[in-house]
């Protein structure tokens, strides 16, 4: 069904921090719009100073994360036809900023915590010679993790952070994906397991899989990244054979 000409109501967070409130808007829709188009239309036609963060409008940069009708999604990849379908007739579509991060203004939040955690993760440590050799199967294992667009929707959804605010203890799903990307790189030599356990707190994750559900890049965050890391931690700290092997060889175990 074409939405062209339909008058649609929206209710959008306006203001800063504690004093922010929902404000109502109404615009006429065009065919094939995504939610970000509507926000832009409101900004260009009604509210010049409406704050919204976006870059690519193509689902590639991960800037435009928000909670649309309570579901964390990218505004630029959420089609109005779907949102209109899920909204009760005559009711407004609700757009709020991500809840887990400090609010800046309107739809914009402060996501700098994610960058601070990233800073603590050691870079790749591989051979000095150029022309690294590894095969496509080995690449496949890591490439999935490298598809992350840093939208931080997973972090926003994870109850360890959203509800329990364990920002100092737990690295969050996005940065665990980053750790997995290095840990499973075929040529990385760094021993990352101790900090994955201690500093980055992998054990705080209790495998609810909420992060995986919202990931717009379709990364199997829980099963392919976090559980793998958890297993490596278990092997290291709770498996005596592994421990003996390691002291004998002083080497990282290859999986």
């Amino acid at each position: 069904m074409s939405l062209k000409g339909k008058i649609q109501k929206f209710t959008i967070t306006r203001g800063e921090g504690e004093t922010a409130e929902l404000a109502d808007y109404e615009i006429e829709l065009d065919e094939g719009m995504v939610v970000l188009d509507c926000v832009h239309r409101i900004q260009h036609e009604q509210e010049p100073d409406l704050a919204v963060r976006w870059n690519c409008k193509a689902g590639k940069c991960g800037s435009c994360s928000a909670e649309i009708n309570g579901r964390p999604r990218l505004m630029c990849m959420t089609r109005m036809s779907d949102v209109v379908d899920e909204t009760e007739d005559g009711k407004p579509i609700e757009i709020r900023p991500m809840k887990a991060f400090p609010h800046v203004k309107d739809l914009v939040t402060d996501v700098s915590w994610n960058y601070e955690v990233a800073q603590k993760i050691k870079p790749i440590n591989g051979p000095d010679e150029m022309n690294w050799e590894f095969n496509q199967n080995e690449a496949d294992r890591v490439q999935q993790f490298r598809e992350c667009i840093e939208c931080f929707l997973c972090v926003n959804t994870c109850h360890v952070l959203r509800d329990h605010s364990l920002f100092d203890e737990f690295a969050g799903p996005r940065n665990l994906v980053r750790l997995a990307q290095y840990e499973m790189h075929p040529l990385d030599q760094e021993d990352r397991i101790p900090e994955i356990k201690k500093e980055f707190g992998v054990e705080y994750c209790n495998i609810t899989r909420c992060c995986t559900e919202v990931c717009p890049a379709g990364i199997q965050i829980t099963d392919d990244a976090i559980i793998q890391l958890k297993e490596r931690v278990v092997d290291r700290y709770y498996d005596p054979l592994q421990r003996i092997w390691r002291t004998l060889t002083r080497q990282k175990v290859r999986y």
Binding site: P48, C56, C61, Y115, P123
Partner: protein
């Protein structure tokens, strides 16, 4: 009212955190310079993140017959011989090591059966040359540089927008920025400043670019007294999405054609066979059978023994062909052409073109593994930019460097796909290296308070316009005007009109009112951006008006053929004098003899292949 501002001191300031800016900053920091990056969006979000198809470098992993000479030849030919040959030489020679270095910094490119970096075919590249990661190569590049960059001791200022370059006499000594989040002001003293701000394509309404593409760096350089070239050459990528309207312009990677995608019109004809220009006659397949055989060989990892499909002609050629088909009434339902890859099968498509599959499914409700896409030209890249020294990337004013899309020279009249990502890392490194070198012998410049104050006054100007228009509306209308009058096919009359219109826009933007808050005020940012958008639009229009011929990314309906004798040897140079934008012509530089020999060597090799593939004719 006096406004406070914060002061900082650095050896090297890099403006922009795309591929070029990050690479420059890494090099500067590694050379021992105290370095900062200023970027108007968050780290890792720059336009580079959108690049899809790949990064061109003659690694010789996919086809050993490749080499720097062939890459050099292809770049020069693609540029319609207007590129700066010295840059094209550095680029072809250095790109392989820059790509290998990315791998050492954690990039995980797709592999060959021999476990090395794989390479794919792209338009205008004689051999498979593009290192890639599915169709998300830009993401791989930017994330790799970001993850390397944060461990190099570089200070990073995110969501700071630079509006002004500080000068002392005729050298650049720093810059002034506002923060998007709070709207407060910051002045940076720097011994060297590197512009890496990307392009200008947001001035067209159908474009593939991010919101950042408002030509900030082009304008900052122009205002500071640097010269630009090639600004009439804008690459309209042949395959943007055309339907639905809200996604019009979003890119469909050339990788689709590199993987065997077929272009057809509403009558089902593979029309590209009819559009092979004389310059490329003999380089491309002449029959559907030959095309199909090429795809088959490439897909199964063999060396091609026949010539590539005409779908892989350079972008200017394919764009104009689609445009002509639509004009002749043979377009697709929404005014484009059909692009079909479904014959490759779902499995191959999901592996090689996952984000295209996702993009069409999510945004257009089309499953590209089963049905064709509808595509049409979209403003994609500006070949023109700030003139730089090939070796050091220094602009025509001292202390100011430029690299990446904001710089010019490597691409001449037309850029080959994949040659931008390689441009970023080759010349990003050079810019960083030379900017750092320069800073070694210099004292820290003193920040000139009066320049900062006047920049701040300019930035606050929009808040005095209570009751004025919403800047967003002017922004939309400007883009529509440029699309209509300075688009893919140009005429004198329309360009003249555009010049007049731009004067109007300049007046209108001065009275736009964004509302009163300085906190993350999108309208205020737009009101400021409009100043550069109007200026770079003017520059592009003026250059287009002046070049009375058609070449590469510049097509004049009233001058449809290339004028090799004059314009084939001549560049348009843009500069500012007494507050006015001016243009003059300069002869291009004669190529070095050994490079001419290299070109002839490659030409002979290509002719030999054509003779083998095409038999007698």
């Amino acid at each position: 009212m006096t406004e406070d501002y914060k002061k900082y001191e650095y050896d090297v300031i890099v403006i922009g955190a795309g591929g070029a800016g990050l690479r420059a900053a890494i090099e500067a920091a590694r050379s021992g310079a105290k370095t900062a990056i200023i970027t108007k969006s968050l780290l890792g979000k720059a336009h580079t993140v959108m690049a899809e198809g790949g990064c061109a470098a003659a690694l010789q992993n996919a086809d050993p017959r490749d080499g720097w000479k062939v890459h050099f030849h292809d770049t020069m030919k693609g540029s319609k011989w207007l590129a700066n040959w010295q840059m094209a030489e550095y680029h072809a020679k250095e790109a392989p090591d820059r790509v290998r270095e990315l791998e050492q910094w954690g990039a995980v490119f797709d592999r060959t059966p021999k476990n090395l970096i794989n390479q794919r075919n792209f338009g205008g590249h004689t051999f498979p040359r593009l290192a890639h990661v599915g169709d998300a190569t830009g993401l791989e590049l930017i994330r790799t540089l970001q993850e390397r960059g944060i461990h190099e001791g570089i200070d990073i200022f995110m969501e700071y927008t630079v509006r002004h370059l500080l000068k002392e006499g005729d050298r650049v000594t720093g810059c002034v920025a506002y923060t998007r989040v709070d709207g407060d002001f910051h002045a940076f003293s720097a011994k060297s400043v590197v512009l890496a701000t990307g392009g200008i394509t947001r001035v067209w309404s159908v474009c593939s670019g991010s919101w950042e593409y408002t030509g900030d760096g082009h304008a900052l350089a122009l205002w500071a007294g640097a010269e630009l070239r090639d600004m009439e050459f804008v690459q309209f990528h042949p395959t943007g999405m055309v339907w639905p309207p809200s996604v019009r312009g979003i890119l469909v990677t050339e990788g689709v054609r590199g993987e065997g995608g077929r272009l057809t019109n509403s009558e089902g004809d593979r029309f590209m066979f009819d559009y092979v220009p004389e310059m490329f006659a003999g380089d491309h397949a002449e029959t559907i059978e030959e095309s199909d055989q090429w795809v088959e060989e490439i897909v199964s990892g063999k060396l091609a023994t026949v010539r590539r499909p005409p779908e892989l002609l350079t972008r200017d050629v394919v764009s104009k062909a689609i445009n002509s088909e639509v004009k002749a009434g043979r377009g697709s339902p929404h005014g484009g052409a059909f692009l079909d890859i479904s014959h490759r099968g779902e499995e191959a498509i999901l592996k090689k073109l996952p984000s295209m599959h996702h993009q069409f499914k999510e945004l257009a409700g089309v499953d590209i593994s089963k049905e064709p896409m509808e595509v049409g030209p979209t403003a994609h890249y500006v070949m023109g930019g700030v003139i730089v020294n090939a070796e050091s990337q220094e602009t025509t004013i001292s202390g100011l460097y430029a690299c990446g899309e904001v710089a010019s020279g490597l691409h001449g009249a037309n850029r080959l796909g994949g040659n931008s990502l390689s441009d970023l890392i080759v010349f990003g490194k050079r810019a960083g290296e030379f900017a750092a070198k320069r800073s070694k012998d210099l004292a820290q410049p003193v920040i000139d308070d009066s320049q900062v104050k006047s920049a701040i006054t300019d930035m606050l100007e929009p808040f005095n316009n209570e009751g004025g228009e919403n800047p967003g509306l002017i922004y939309d209308e400007l883009r529509d005007m440029m699309q209509a009058k300075v688009g893919i096919i140009r005429t004198k009359d329309e360009l003249d009109e555009a010049i007049e219109d731009l004067k109007n826009f300049d007046t209108r933007r001065k009275s736009a009112y964004p509302g009163s808050s300085r906190k993350y005020n999108s309208g205020w940012h737009q009101a400021l951006d409009l100043k550069n958008m109007v200026d770079v639009s003017y520059v592009a229009t003026l250059a287009a008006l002046t070049r009375e011929e058609s070449r590469g990314g510049h097509t004049r309906d009233d001058f449809p053929v290339p004028d090799d004798e004059y314009w084939g040897e001549t560049l348009n140079i843009i500069y500012m004098e007494d507050g006015e934008i001016k243009i003059r012509q300069e002869a291009k530089e004669e190529m070095r003899d050994d490079l001419k020999d290299a070109i002839n060597e490659v030409k002979a090799m290509i002719a030999e292949r054509a003779a083998e593939a095409g038999g007698e004719n």
